[in-house]
């Protein structure tokens, strides 16, 4: 198993190796943020908008906090929250999607129509609307994004599962008298694993970008937590003066999404071939 995995890794194209390295680095930084960051994420260490120096490698922000420390902590906050939100959206979406694909009939019809209607509202607009109603706290944002994105996951999970459910080995299992639990865990999930894993990666990217966009708009992760989206917003005024440092958090966002996308692209490419 492990050796197989290594063998597969060796066939990975450069772009996806790059992606995997990026993901590994982000995970390490997120875990060891307190050790890596020279200062705390909330501490005001100096004057506002200090240029990069030996003391503050990337300078200070609009309140005089250390940029580098905040970027390091951002890996933990932004990525962590996005990851948690994705898991939530995924649990809801795949459970319902697989369940309705097996059940069919009315359950499927009603849930399908409901999801269609929810998806008729552009995702960002829907999120903004719900944030207005429930208020812009982190918990609300996580729940709202998870809810809205779970409709997308539902669609995909249902479609993937549907493709498997029509196969004859499922019919054989049903005619045998297998229960729904066994159908899902032994028959459907092993076959849905590859497309669902790819969707998890893509969904993470969408959620991560959505959280960053909301934070950038001032409606997502709230101060004083260090977060990449809001860091761009706070320091954006410098950009027009030719200052590059405010772009670093945005690049950190892009780099991770690109990394994940490269890996997912390779996974999709592999699973689209008939092999395994």
């Amino acid at each position: 198993m492990a050796r197989n995995f290594l063998k597969i890794l060796k066939t990975a194209p450069p772009s996806s190796v790059f992606g995997m390295v990026v993901i590994a680095i982000y995970i390490l930084v997120a875990f060891f943020a307190p050790l890596l960051a020279p200062y705390s994420q909330t501490e005001i260490v100096d004057a506002e908008f200090m240029p990069p120096s030996a003391e503050y490698w990337l300078g200070t922000d609009n309140l005089g906090r250390d940029m580098l420390s905040r970027i390091v902590y951002g890996a933990r906050n932004t990525v962590g929250i996005a990851f948690f939100t994705t898991i939530l959206a995924f649990l809801v979406g795949t459970t319902l999607g697989i369940f309705t694909s097996i059940k069919g009939g009315w359950t499927d019809q009603i849930l399908g129509r409901l999801v269609d209607t929810l998806m008729a509202i552009p995702s960002l607009i829907f999120k903004l609307l719900l944030l207005t109603v429930f208020g812009t706290t982190i918990i609300n944002m996580v729940l709202i994004i998870a809810l809205v994105d779970s409709t997308r996951v539902f669609r995909l999970a249902r479609a993937v599962s549907m493709d498997i459910v029509v196969m004859e080995f499922i019919e054989a299992a049903r005619l045998r008298g297998d229960g729904i639990w066994r159908l899902v865990t032994r028959e459907i999930l092993p076959n849905a694993a590859a497309p669902l894993a790819a969707e998890f990666g893509l969904r993470f990217c969408f959620v991560f970008l959505a959280i960053s966009a909301l934070s950038f708009l001032g409606l997502g992760i709230q101060p004083p937590l260090a977060d990449w989206g809001s860091m761009v917003r706070d320091n954006a005024s410098l950009i027009a003066f030719g200052e590059f440092t405010p772009l670093i958090p945005a690049i950190a966002i892009a780099l991770l999404t690109i990394g994940v996308n490269f890996v997912v692209d390779w996974m999709l490419h592999r699973s689209s071939g008939l092999k395994d």
Binding site: A120, L131, G218, P246, A254
Partner: protein, 317 residues
């Protein structure tokens, strides 16, 4: 011809049902506001009397169904109510903004749709080539970028040179050319955002299509490459391409909101974001509805066009 019209009428009917359902969702969402809306808006210091007066002003004392019908009727007539924060007439507030947003979106769409489709086509036709791989890497990367990063990179690169303004101060008195000039950076950002998505999807759709048996047949009839693409691939590619364009409207809408904020562009998206932070539910409701309606209508239009391009429906048995 009958079954074609039946499909279209059905689709129109579904569109109307969706519109109503979405308007109900938007209305009900606001109803779900935890606590008393009047209390929240007026703040903790408000006396019970002022809250009661305000409630009446909002019409909160009437049953929900009546209020929904009133609200929906108002929307249809173009009477959008009064903004909570500024006490201004919402219709007046958004009129020019709707136009500005449409202007920006159309500007970007008109550049990016032809651009994306032709690049996607080229990548599909020469798949495996250097061009294809470059298109793949570039589009995958720009799909991955937050819209504001693209915007600020453009600001960083272009605005410093002073060629283009970084604030898109649009006024009604400007000439068309001036408007194009002033909104160039936001339009370019949007273009980059949706071109990448659209290009990837167009490529996938065409690659799929080129694997069909009838394309191989055309090849084996000895037809020229140009003829195969124009006469055999393209008519069948219309439906998938229309779908791709429709799907990308979602990115256009997300993009428009963020880009308007970056460039301080006086559009509907910026108003929406402002109103969310002020929790001005009346404006948020209206703006959300307008975005949703536009999205639904464009999707409807796309679906009808792709239905019309389907020979099986155009020429039933």
């Amino acid at each position: 011809m009958n079954s074609l019209w039946l499909v279209i009428v059905k689709r129109l009917g579904l569109g109307i049902v969706t519109l109503i359902a979405v308007s109900i969702i938007i209305f009900v969402a606001i109803e779900m506001l935890p606590g008393d809306i009047a209390q929240i808006i007026l703040g903790q210091s408000a006396t019970p009397e002022t809250v009661a007066v305000f409630r009446q002003e909002l019409g909160l004392d009437r049953p929900a169904l009546t209020r929904y019908l009133d609200w929906a009727g108002g929307m249809l007539r173009g009477d959008f109510g009064t903004a909570l924060a500024s006490k201004r007439d919402v219709s007046e507030l958004i009129q020019s903004r709707i136009f500005n947003t449409l202007f920006l979106a159309a500007y970007a769409a008109l550049i990016s749709i032809p651009l994306a489709i032709s690049l996607g086509l080229l990548a599909a036709l020469y798949r495996g080539s250097v061009l294809d791989r470059a298109v793949n890497i570039i589009s995958l990367s720009s799909v991955s970028m937050p819209e504001f990063l693209l915007a600020y990179i453009l600001v960083f690169l272009l605005a410093q040179t002073g060629f283009f303004p970084t604030m898109s101060d649009l006024t009604p008195t400007m000439s068309f050319q001036e408007k194009l000039y002033v909104t160039f950076l936001p339009a370019l950002t949007l273009t980059l955002v949706i071109t990448a998505h659209m290009m990837r999807m167009t490529r996938a759709a065409i690659v799929n299509l080129l694997a069909s048996a009838y394309i191989e047949m055309a090849e084996l009839k000895g037809l020229s490459r140009t003829r195969i693409i124009l006469m055999h691939a393209f008519p069948n590619a219309l439906a998938p391409i229309i779908n791709v364009v429709a799907i990308n409207l979602a990115y256009l809408i997300t993009g428009v909101v963020v880009v308007e904020v970056v460039f301080v562009y006086p559009g509907l998206g910026q108003l929406l974001v402002d109103s969310v932070s002020k929790r001005d539910v009346v404006v948020v409701q209206v703006a959300s509805l307008i975005f949703a309606v536009a999205y639904i209508l464009f999707n409807l239009l796309a679906d009808i066009f792709s239905t019309l391009s389907n020979p099986r429906l155009r020429h039933p048995k």
